[in-house]
């Protein structure tokens, strides 16, 4: 009996010792691991610190500006490019009977729906001439059209801030193709003056694209109203929110 209990205690002690050793080795191992992890964390943090510094260095405004002027066709925004939310008109509902310029209308709808940036980019090639041409174009559009034309007419005036070098070949052709057919069909008189005034080098597709989009916008309105409006009121009425918007965007140069 006595021997058995002694044996039991001895066994227990041995087991406890074994477990203790095991645990202590495990702890040691874990601590080594922790140590190396800590070192790794420190290294990573130092690396993060360096990367942050590099990020800031690469984001230096001076550098960004030179890069932007090299690779982008953007210019600083001007006050007239900002419009209050309540000035922006609702999207006009297209009348059901407009079968002729169906695809053109679809184009408009898309343009009205999207943010102001895409049309700007898409219409960038509409100023293929010199800087003077672009300027006169803008003032023409702004001066004559706002009274007569509804939605989206602000957009042709927008390319003004974009440099003439802003020729994006692919972008101009995409919208031009579907509407090019409709172009000769019903180009309003107002626009023809505009086209004539602009020195067009040799890009029939692009020249067609501008008036065509313009014209397709004009379609929903009764054509008779246009000359009257132009003749009567070069300035938009106060109630004409679209006209006000267009004047804001284009005319205030």
């Amino acid at each position: 009996m006595k021997g058995k209990s002694a044996l039991f205690w001895l066994g227990l002690a041995a087991a406890a010792g074994g477990v203790l050793f095991q645990t202590s080795y495990e702890v040691q191992e874990l601590e080594d691991k922790l140590g190396s992890l800590n070192r790794q964390i420190m290294d990573e943090q130092e690396a993060i610190q360096i990367l942050k510094a590099e990020w800031s260095y690469l984001n230096d405004p001076t550098r960004l500006e030179s890069l932007a002027s090299q690779h982008l066709q953007l210019q600083p925004t001007e006050a007239r490019q900002f419009v209050a939310m309540d000035v922006v008109p609702m999207r006009p509902v297209p009348p059901p009977d407009a079968p002729k310029a169906g695809d053109g209308l679809k184009n408009d709808g898309k343009r009205d729906g999207v943010a102001p940036l895409p049309p700007m980019v898409r219409l960038a090639p509409s100023a293929p001439g010199t800087a003077v041409a672009a300027g006169s174009n803008a003032t023409n559009n702004g001066g004559i059209i706002p009274a007569s034309l509804p939605s989206g007419m602000g957009t042709p005036a927008k390319p003004a801030p974009i440099k003439p070098s802003a020729l994006i070949p692919g972008a101009g052709k995409a919208p031009a193709l579907p509407t090019a057919k409709a172009a000769p069909a019903s180009a309003p008189t107002v626009k023809q003056v505009d086209v004539a005034a602009r020195p067009m080098p040799s890009q029939p597709v692009q020249t067609a694209s501008v008036p065509s989009t313009v014209k397709s916008l004009a379609v929903p309105k009764p054509p008779a109203a246009q000359p009257a409006a132009v003749a009567a009121a070069p300035a938009p009425k106060a109630t004409d929110s679209i006209g006000v918007l267009v004047a804001r965007l284009g005319a205030n140069r």
């Binding site: 992890l37 130092e46 260095y57 600083p76 205030n252």
Partner: protein
Amino acid sequence: MNDQPPGFESAPGGSAPGLTPGGPAPGAYGVPPPASKPRTSLSVALERSRNRLMVTAAMVTLVFTAIGIKLVDATLLSHASEPRQRMAAEIDAPPVNRADIVDRNGNLLATSLATQSLYADPKLISRPDEVAKKLSVALPELDYKELYGKLSGEKRFVWIKRNLTPKQQAAVFRLGLPGVYFEREERRFYPASNLTSHIVGFTGVDNNGLSGLEQSMNKRLVNEPNKPLQLSIDLRLQHILKKELAATIQEFSAIGATGIIFDVRNGEVLSMVSLPDFDPHDPPALNDKAGQDALFNRATLGVYEMGSTFKIFNTAMSLDSGKIKVTDVFDTTHNVSVGRFTIREYHPFHHNLNVAEIFQESSNLGSLHMALTVGVAAQKAFLTKLGLTRPTALELPENGWPLVPNPWREVNTMTIAFGHGMSVSPMHTVTAAASAINGGVLHPPTLMKRDPVAEVPGEQVIAPQTSAMMRRLFRFVVTDGTAKAANAKGYVVGGKTGTAEKQKGRHYERNSRMSSFLGAFPMNDPRYIVYVLVDEPKGTKQTYGFATGGWVAAPAVGRVVKQIGPLLGVPPVDDGSPEVINATYINAAGQTTPPGPPPPPAQSKGSTVASVPPPSGKQR
């Protein structure tokens, strides 16, 4: 021991009943008769050794018990008695000892990077010549002779090179030289470099701030290394302002320029540029003349006679005193002689002007008479109230003391009225001018981003009505006065030009000027001041030889406003809309109510409906 005697006694006692007459058979009973023997020497020795054993056992028990208790205490009860060897590293703590400095949007302006520095223990270097040779090959910028001198010395520690690049470190490491060691050090790095050099400043080789916020905030940066110091500066504005200032310097061949963008509502300095500037990684030496000029912060340390921009304070003081109304007319045709000086107009007027016109046309004589009407003591008290006689509260160590006349005589009052005879820093001017247009509250300027919920410290120094009138006058200068070039369409700029002749020695130079423009926008509800001061501009052909504030600084401010307006989220308004006109209108007669529904064309130069380009004859 205690029970022994009874046992001992019991043996005889036990045997006593066994004592029978027939005693010859003692072995027949259990109790041995020898036990009843008297004490022998053996039993005594046995007893003593037993006692000793007991004592020893007791001692051992005591000690082991104590050890056991202590063991339990050390292992189970008290955890903190001994620190753990390894703790997990903190995740968000950058491994540096100096806090970063960031701008208001979180862009880094200054950070610490860990680098390795090389040092040597010359005692452990047996062949200094060889070591010096190898090191000067690995690090070509080291001088062999100097290095040899260092390594053969008697010291136990010499720096060889601080802050090696990783490549250099690897090169030295590969040499495997004994007695040469690396030490981890930190080095300040300024990603924005020159752009914020005057604000952030720079540190020395031991990472102690030597100028700018690095110096004034040294304690804070060291004590809380994990919390970046956030400034009120906006890096984008800083860039725009510097770009325009540099362009202005180049256009007018000026020797320097400074600019400030200031939030009039809470006193935050959004941008502060002083040109020429310097590279904080390699600050110019102090004994270098050009270097000193570059280190000099014109925006805060430089004090200048501000010229006509002081008429802002003169006019505000006059209107605030209640003695002068905006329609009052003062003599502007007769020059005033004081001692050997004659005070005259920049370009003479042929009729007397009222207060609005004096401000618009920047008349020296009119301002002088206004100041005299208010009085010497009142002027001194007013300028003191605006903080123009003490350094500003800005956190920079480079904070200039204004040069204030002492004693303050009548002639000082006359000259101070149009900005001469008293020198203040541009920061003073901007801070005080902000209080003139923001409703009359003087906010101390700060470079730290203000807590958006905390209350902004401020002191009412000007009556709100006066401030409202000042806004109209500011706008009037831009629409019809000396600063038409500062107009930025949609942002309703207002301001005041200033042109001061610089004092060289004992007299004023006619052709070295300080041309400045203090612009604010939008004037219907002022939010920001843009201030530009150009040092010694020369007139150009485009400006017809003029180098005054209206020709030099005002166009720069206009360009800056056009660019920063969108960044600051200032909604562009229609300059000709009735609300704006009502809020900013004043005419040459001093009337503040705009005439009838069709606003005057001079006022609404850019109405929405203008299909013809506005007449740009005078606009430059």
